[in-house]
């Protein structure tokens, strides 16, 4: 029987339904018992964090409305225990630096088994 305290909740934030779908599929292939929540914008992610209290979050950067970096900053300011991965195609050094400053990990798209494994290693790693 699964101890419910071991069940992890992941919030996937991306305006692309395809990206969300692929991240979800690769994560569930490794952790079939994780609870996956989706948000299609930075604002929706801020609301979801208040309601669903996820352990982990993947965050796209380039989205309509509030961008992912700012959404991540606001979430981590209030909930520093959430492990955050900025999962973006925008691989500029400045975005990688901002992720590091926030205490988040930057993972470059495309969404593949490998890139999702990098995010999972961060979620399950120390700290």
């Amino acid at each position: 029987m699964t101890d419910t305290s071991d069940i992890r909740t992941l919030l996937i934030t991306d305006d692309s339904r395809v990206a969300r779908l692929m991240i979800r599929a690769f994560v569930l292939a490794k952790h079939h018992d994780w609870v996956i929540i989706e948000a299609d914008s930075g604002n929706a992610a801020l609301e979801s964090v208040e309601k669903d209290h996820p352990h982990y979050c993947t965050m796209d950067i380039n989205m309509p409305g509030i961008n992912g970096t700012e959404a991540a900053r606001q979430i981590l300011e209030k909930y520093p225990a959430i492990k955050m991965v900025l999962f973006s195609a925008n691989i500029q050094e400045s975005n990688k630096s901002r992720a590091a400053q926030l205490g988040a990990k930057f993972v470059a798209k495309p969404v593949t088994e490998n890139s999702v494994a990098q995010a999972l290693a961060f979620f399950e790693g120390p700290g």
């Binding site: 692309s16 395809v18 692929m22 380039n62 925008n90 500029q92 969404v111 890139s115």
Partner: protein, 206 residues
């Protein structure tokens, strides 16, 4: 505007930066389709729109899937990624695999191509921007199925486009023998800024 709008050294630097950026983009496409990507030599050409012959640039017949994204900031450019529509569908199939059922496939075509375009175009522009030491922001990608003539006419007849800088390259996915085409369009103000960035880049490596 003559081709001398960029000096030989500036053109050489831009070609090299474009080459590095496209190589990074090709690496991303290779991850998506799990196949080797062959690249042609990149080309840089500068035109008066009135001097552009559509026939000269007719790289594809028939409907093509185009993803367009606008980049602003240190680099100001509109970038297009073009694939023949049939081959675009094959790429989407490679990317999604069994993640969606066949019946759902059509529903995801547009979003999947936007995501592919977003990854490839950002990889290319971000690599170039980092080498030039500038930041940029990107618009949401737009996907359309059009023919090449329509796309080129729109670029040529845009009143804000008194000069066209075309950076273009072919990307061939070996297994499918699919051909993709990456095209950058720049206007004069953005060219002036680019020239200054290139000069600074060249000074730093001398």
């Amino acid at each position: 505007m003559p081709l001398s709008a960029l000096s030989d050294l500036q053109k050489d630097a831009l070609t090299e930066l474009f080459n590095i950026g496209v190589s990074r983009a090709a690496a991303c496409l290779s991850e998506i389709v799990a196949d080797e990507i062959l690249l042609s030599a990149p080309k840089i050409e500068l035109f008066h729109p009135s001097a552009v012959s559509v026939d000269e640039f007719m790289v594809f017949d028939g409907p093509i899937g185009s993803v367009t994204q606008r980049f602003t900031g240190g680099i100001e450019t509109e970038v297009l990624l073009l694939f023949p529509e049939k081959q675009a569908l094959e790429i989407i199939h490679d990317m999604l695999g069994n993640t969606v059922s066949l019946s759902e496939f059509t529903e995801f075509e547009q979003e999947a191509m936007c995501e592919i375009g977003n990854v490839i175009l950002n990889a290319c522009v971000a690599t170039m921007a980092d080498l030039l030491g500038v930041d940029f922001e990107s618009s949401m990608p737009i996907y359309a199925i059009e023919n090449f003539t329509t796309i080129l006419h729109r670029a040529i007849h845009n009143p804000g486009q008194p000069l066209l800088l075309l950076l273009h390259i072919n990307m061939i996915i070996e297994r499918h023998q699919s051909q993709g085409y990456l095209m950058f369009l720049m206007t004069i103000p953005s060219l002036n800024a680019l020239r200054a960035h290139l000069d600074r880049f060249l000074e730093n490596i001398r």
